[in-house]
Assembly symmetry: C2
Homo-oligomer: 893 residues x 2
């Protein structure tokens, strides 16, 4: 028995610590704790104390601190010295307050024992109700309540909960007894059981307990209590609680507190009840009291969902006085906490008790509305309102979502690679996607992984599902850029391109079957699910305006086309931080010229092919400059390895051979020659620019010719040319000199000049290490955190999704570093780079254009290390704006 063990092991040193209070009492308007003490008392305990102080009716009780739980784990499951004594003292105080006796037959005190950590972990840890019951006490309860049935039912419930929570006896054992009894009696509902039936059930429950545990059911209420406290401590580290904390990023807590509270009963007849309510509508944010309740029920009955609860309006009708009290409490609590509250209440024989209050969870839409309304109502100032909306949630508002009323059959889960909801028929190739789409079908493109060749198919698809690749895989990056729903790295799927089907466990999905994707959570559903379109409220616009007023970081977007640029400007983008030029080479005839360039053996042939691409690229840039006006546009020169522009399949190579009128063998040889074992670390980026200067020359010319034409039309543009994959200062030097020559020529030909700058990506770890040298040459830095993360960790972003998820599950990584910047490692390297670079060039402009530019935590980090801007996909621009504002407010505070 751990309790006595811990008692005997108390030593001198522990006794000295006695002055540390292990228990905080609350009751009758007075409390030792308060709402600030969440770390020590847990959220539930701190708020029970606070409500008590506010004079709100709360059943009296006490909270055992999270430090006691931490001690329990640290010292091999022993209690801290003095805990037992403090429990006894507080029990006595509780008895006195309630005027009843724990374990006494006359006027017995029953208690609830509930867990409660500093962060909300609903349903993850254990609770025992009606504790303090035994065969004597039940008799006293019958006398006290004059309700024999209630008393036996309470006893029955207690045995079941205690057996399950403390001793691990399965619920089924007890449900089985109950069902058998009902069968015997020919009744269907629990409520049809009489007092005597329940008494018999209690007998059978005890017997079942003895069989399962080989010991008698404890009748000493103190032993019941001590064992339950240990069970709650244990529940802190049960697998589902650990998993929950991992998934919800809850870290650094001491453990759970334990709340021991006098029982109140909502199931004492038709003047009793229990319910849950929100101070505002958690779905819409409307300022209306919202909730539901059940008459003659305990909280667990609401959760079990056997009876359908009634809306609060019915409470108003039936018990107007209680409703009024509750409404007062709602207003009181909301004004006190200055946030929307989620409350639990119980009515025992006409008397109202609050059992819990906490800040309520809400949809993004509700979060925005509540924040803005509360400013209107004078409850919050603008900055406080900005801090109230989780920036990451905002994307929910910009994409379609599934109709919550429609049924969903989940068949698999992957990474939430690009938010939104989509339904369509499955196709397995980009070509098929285009064919089906032309016929008017909505399609979902399912691939093991996508490549630049697939752009066309991705464009027409409603959504994209891949089995490999992580948050920064090709599919994920492109989908986010397009604002298209994508679930990536869904490893459970086995795709068979040949048979055009995929399997996931027992389910087989063939080409043409409907599936649905939720890119915001990364889930895949069988069949078609209804979607609802997004709608942006006026409150949203207001909140964004406030954010813009306070933030210091500028927010740009990653956009490759005038259309994307237009969308992003609509969302508030102040420039383009990354315009990739490679996607431009895939459309229509361009790919042919591009392939001619790649097949060329001499510089002259390459230049000839590039000359065909020049006017097309120039038009691309012209279109983007037109949209962006005087806003800066950072254009990254060609980055991917050349093999990505060649077809790899037998058929498509044959097709290329006929279109271009070259022998198939030539194409095969070129593909083989360009093959690399690790293309991410291969001949790409500025390495191509050095090997084939004519490529970057052409791109530079296209950019500056477009800029000169804009200028000649009397309009403005602000091109920034960015060189990818720079690792040494000399690479940049050589390329910059070449480019300046070309730019000089263009200016001469057009008889105008346009201001421009030439800068570099910082995406190779070495570039960050020697950033001071590179800063001598570069006119700006943009951190390419996708590649930087990839190389700093040595994780291929196309392959690593599998082991990264293992790492996150095991707590080796806190988060997928492709989703949220690894501040400790990659971040340190970035900070180093900025610090040494600014020593050389004080005002160096620094930004980020990796996918992290749209992740709130990463945006805050970028603010902290002194960047001037972040850049992210169009649909994440509002997220970045809000996160940047929150970073600025955090800094001020």
């Amino acid at each position: 028995m751990p309790v006595t063990k811990s008692k005997t092991r108390v030593n001198a040193k522990e006794i000295k610590k006695k002055k540390n209070q292990l228990i905080y009492f609350f009751g009758r308007g007075q409390a030792e704790g308060n709402a600030q003490m969440k770390q020590l008392l847990g959220g539930k305990g701190a708020n029970l104390a606070e409500m008590t102080r506010l004079g709100i009716p709360v059943p009296s009780g006490f909270t055992i601190t999270t430090e006691a739980c931490a001690f329990y784990y640290k010292e091999g499951k022993k209690w801290p010295a003095g805990l037992e004594k403090e429990i006894e003292q507080n029990l006595a105080r509780l008895e006195k307050t309630m005027g009843s006796g724990f374990g006494q037959r006359e006027n017995p005190l029953l208690v609830s024992v509930r867990s409660g950590a500093a962060a909300s972990m609903p349903g993850m840890m254990d609770t025992v109700l009606n504790l303090g019951m035994n065969s004597e006490v039940v008799q006293g309860l019958i006398i006290k309540t004059e309700n024999e049935r209630f008393a036996w039912d309470a006893y029955r419930r207690f045995i079941q909960m205690f057996s399950n929570v403390v001793m691990g006896v399965s619920h089924e054992t007890f449900e089985h007894i109950l069902e058998k009894k009902k069968e015997q009696l020919g009744v269907k509902l629990d409520v049809e059981l009489k007092a005597n039936d329940l008494k018999e059930i209690v007998r059978q429950y005890k017997k079942a307990y003895e069989e399962a545990t080989q010991e008698e059911f404890p009748s000493d209420p103190k032993i019941q209590l001590f064992k339950t406290i240990n069970a709650v401590f244990e529940s802190w580290n049960n697998p589902r609680a650990i998993k929950y904390r991992d998934l919800n990023d809850i870290r650094g807590l001491l453990g759970t507190a334990v709340n021991v509270q006098a029982m109140v009963f909502g199931n004492m007849g038709n003047t009793s009840g229990t319910g849950v309510c929100f101070s505002r509508n958690p779905s819409t944010g409307a300022n209306q009291f919202y909730g539901e309740f059940l008459i003659n029920a305990q909280g667990e009955d609401v959760v079990a969902g056997i009876r359908t609860p009634e809306p609060l309006d019915n409470l108003k009708k039936q018990w107007p006085v209680i409703y009024k009290d509750l409404l007062k409490i709602r207003t009181r609590l909301e004004r006190h906490y200055k946030d929307m509250q989620d409350m639990e209440f119980t009515i025992q024989e006409g008397k109202l008790y609050l059992l819990q209050t906490r800040n309520g969870k809400r949809t993004a839409q509700a979060a925005v509305r509540i924040a803005v309304d509360m400013v209107k109502e004078g409850l919050l100032n603008q900055n406080a309102a900005l801090m109230r909306v989780p920036a990451g949630q905002l994307t929910q508002l910009l994409h379609p979502s599934f109709d919550p009323k429609d049924h969903k059959k989940k068949i698999a889960a992957g990474l939430p690679a690009s938010p939104g909801a989509a339904t369509g028929r499955v196709v397995f190739s980009a070509d098929d996607a285009e064919v089906w789409a032309k016929k008017g079908e909505k399609v979902i493109l399912v691939r093991i992984e996508t490549s630049p060749e697939d752009i066309g198919g991705m464009h027409v698809a409603e959504g994209i599902l891949t089995t490999r690749g992580g948050m920064t895989s090709h599919a994920a990056v492109v989908a986010r850029g397009m604002g298209k729903c994508c679930v990536a790295g869904c490893g459970d799927l086995q795709v068979d391109y040949h048979q055009k089907l995929f399997r996931v466990r027992e389910v087989t999905v063939k080409e043409g079957d409907f599936i649905s994707l939720d890119g915001s959570v990364g889930e895949v559903y069988l069949g078609s699910v209804k979607t609802v379109p997004p709608s942006l409220s006026g409150e949203f616009g207001k909140l964004m305006k406030w954010a813009d007023q306070v933030r210091k970081l500028r927010v740009r977007t990653n956009a490759d086309t005038p259309k994307d640029a237009q969308v992003a400007v609509g969302f508030g983008a102040e420039g383009i931080g990354l315009c990739r030029t490679e996607h431009m080479f895939f459309e229509g005839d361009r790919i042919i010229a591009m392939r001619e360039m790649i097949l060329a053996d001499t510089k002259e042939e390459r230049e000839r092919a590039l000359l065909k691409l020049l006017p097309m690229q120039r038009n691309d840039f012209y279109g983007i400059f037109e949209v962006m006006g005087s806003r800066p546009v950072t254009i990254r020169l060609l980055d991917p390895p050349l093999h990505e522009f060649l077809p790899h399949g037998q058929d498509s190579q044959q097709e290329m051979a006929s279109v271009m009128n070259v022998p198939l063998e030539r194409i095969r040889e070129k593909v083989a020659g360009l093959h690399e074992f690790n293309p991410m670390l291969g001949h790409r980026g500025c390495r191509l620019g050095i090997s084939y200067p004519e490529i970057y020359d052409m791109q530079t010319r296209a950019i500056m010719e477009a800029a000169c034409r804009i200028k000649k039309k009397g309009k403005k543009c602000a091109p920034e040319i960015m060189i990818p994959l720079v690792g040494t200062e000399k690479e940049l030097n050589v390329l910059k000199e070449n480019m300046e020559k070309v730019i000089g020529q263009v200016f001469k030909e057009y008889h105008v000049t346009v201001p421009y700058s030439i800068g570099t990506m910082i995406e190779i770890p070495r570039a960050a290490v020697v950033a001071d040298r590179i800063a001598k040459v570069a006119e700006f830095f943009s951190f390419g955190t996708n590649d930087l993360t990839q190389m700093t960790f040595g994780y291929s972003r196309d392959d690593a999704a599998g082991f990264i998820s293992t790492y996150v599950a095991q707590g080796i990584l806190e988060k997928d570093p492709f989703q949220s910047l690894d501040q400790e490692g990659v971040g340190l390297l970035m900070k180093h780079a900025i610090d040494i670079a600014r020593k050389v060039k004080k005002d160096l402009k620094v930004g980020i254009c990796g996918e992290h530019g749209g992740d709130p935590a990463s945006v805050m980090f970028c603010h902290k290390i002194g960047m001037q801007y972040v850049s992210c996909s169009p649909f994440r621009v509002p997220v970045a704006r809000l996160a940047a504002a929150q970073a600025a407010i955090n800094e001020k505070d």
Copy 2:
């Protein structure tokens, strides 16, 4: 004419600089310069001054400084102010010293004009002899020398040299005239031409000059001189000079000096001559005067190789007095410079002149012998001797080399991946290599790239040639480990596996044809070339002993087998710094058990397969421990991705299916499932250890069981277990805990304990960035600079050889960072890691086990940043020992 231009552009500022001396005179026992002034006067000029000071007969002259050359380039090919005046002053001084007149008919002064930079660049820059000649002077020379033929021949030679060096007229133009003349006259040799014939040739030469340059041949000796000085300045940046400096890593020099010296003639008849001699034998190092000479010849005749020079012994016989003088000078110079000298001399009518002395180039064997002998002779102390031997040359002594007498036809060049020389018949697969070798054939294995599957074939091959991959590619690393000759990344070869042949330009080499490889220089020869075996001298041993006395770095080896370990211990290895365990999984039946493990779907199946591998691995380690005794043995747990252990070809997959009795489809699926786009950044190293803990558990058990068995035999061993690819402290934590559990069990089972430690590779950039955190857990660090370089630069070591060579050629990279550590970038990261790690763990043991551990410059860097040891392939151990000694000596000085 640049000369006058420069004169007119002299400005006030430049005149003020006048006090900077631009010319240094030497003559008649006095000199303004000395041997310390190589940077300013070039090696030749400094040594001419020094010899003059020593009283050695040197034709008088003067040296124009390298600063003048630097000015010439910096200021757009202008001369510094005052240069012309200083030339005139020094010419006058020279005339006075010589008692002759420049451009005078009576007793004319002729001069030679020679380049000479601070570093020796033999034959790279230009020389003009006999300058000062015109149609007047030739008459005077006839009178002075009473040798009409000589005078006209001197004139002829001058015109040809001047025309070629200064005006770029081709040699062929003049050779053609000469040949035609000889044909006309029906003679074969130049010496058969009479004075009149030569006079006619001079006329024709001048005409040819005028035709080629459209101007008259300059008759003003000063103009001849000025133009020639400019031509020498220009020659500093001719393409072959630039290339030579690049290849020989000569950097940071100002330019070339110009040496103007009174002519002496070795071709004035049979009492004249010219020669080259070494103070010791440059091949063997033997302390014997060594050289050759030609009677009646100028230096160029020796170089041209038309007449065969005679050995010095003949000089001794013919001219004993001169020989004795030369011998005295040899001794004087060697004692003065304390190094073996390479000297040029001319005898003019019985009088000896020294034209040059410099430290002589020598073979590795000679370098060692000379250094050791000079200590014996009291010329050097031990440390000075250690500094005299270039550490990198030592590998020459440990491998076979080609017989220098045998003919070689070079067909291609690649990277010198693993030193040595090999001849054999070409095969194109590892299997073929084994088949041919069994038949007793010597084979050269030619592959696009090798993989672990090829180990068997590599083992039986004489040498390995690959077309892809760099200095740290699989082929290179494995070959060095085996001490086997390898040329890697030979991109000119086009290998056709199907037809079993390779092509390189016009040459086609088929299976079975002989080729030869020189892995020390990276060259490929057609046919069979004789090799000579290595032999280690007593001097080598002595030098190594001295090195061991002074060095602070310990030197370990990278060895995977008892045999390699034995070899390395023979070369002085003090431990194993890297024992790779993956190669152990390929031999015989092991690969089957390994594949069972990979195909397994459950942990239990994997454990069953691993149980088969356990005794094999245990035996491997036992054997290595036996060889190494109490020396530390660092064993790296499994590192490569699992797909490397599966066959990728159709046939071999079919074979595996029949051997293992599983469906082919199962194997194909597994291979496809394990495929990664960038395996270097994939699921390997400790990531496997986390996903499949049972693999590392088995390896840990095998290591410690072997160690316990050694202990039980009363012997010692010192295992260090090393975890690869760690990027976060938590990875190491999790794995270390697992391993300690296993080790505890093994100790319990064997009833003994063995001291051990658990450490980590630092090869992921992130690990270096957060090394302080990792140091909390790791008991030692070993830098894996292959991977660290790969990821810090973002260069795939299997793919990057191509663009790295472009980068090196263009000067973007100083060296291939896989050959010699990038101290600026990767090195900075290493230094950072050591510095922050030692703050946490003051005495943390730190070493390096990347291939850089055998590169002298890298070893010196490792010393500088405070490592305790380096580890390299067995055949580089002596290199590392010497480099470590040199680092320690450098530090002391």
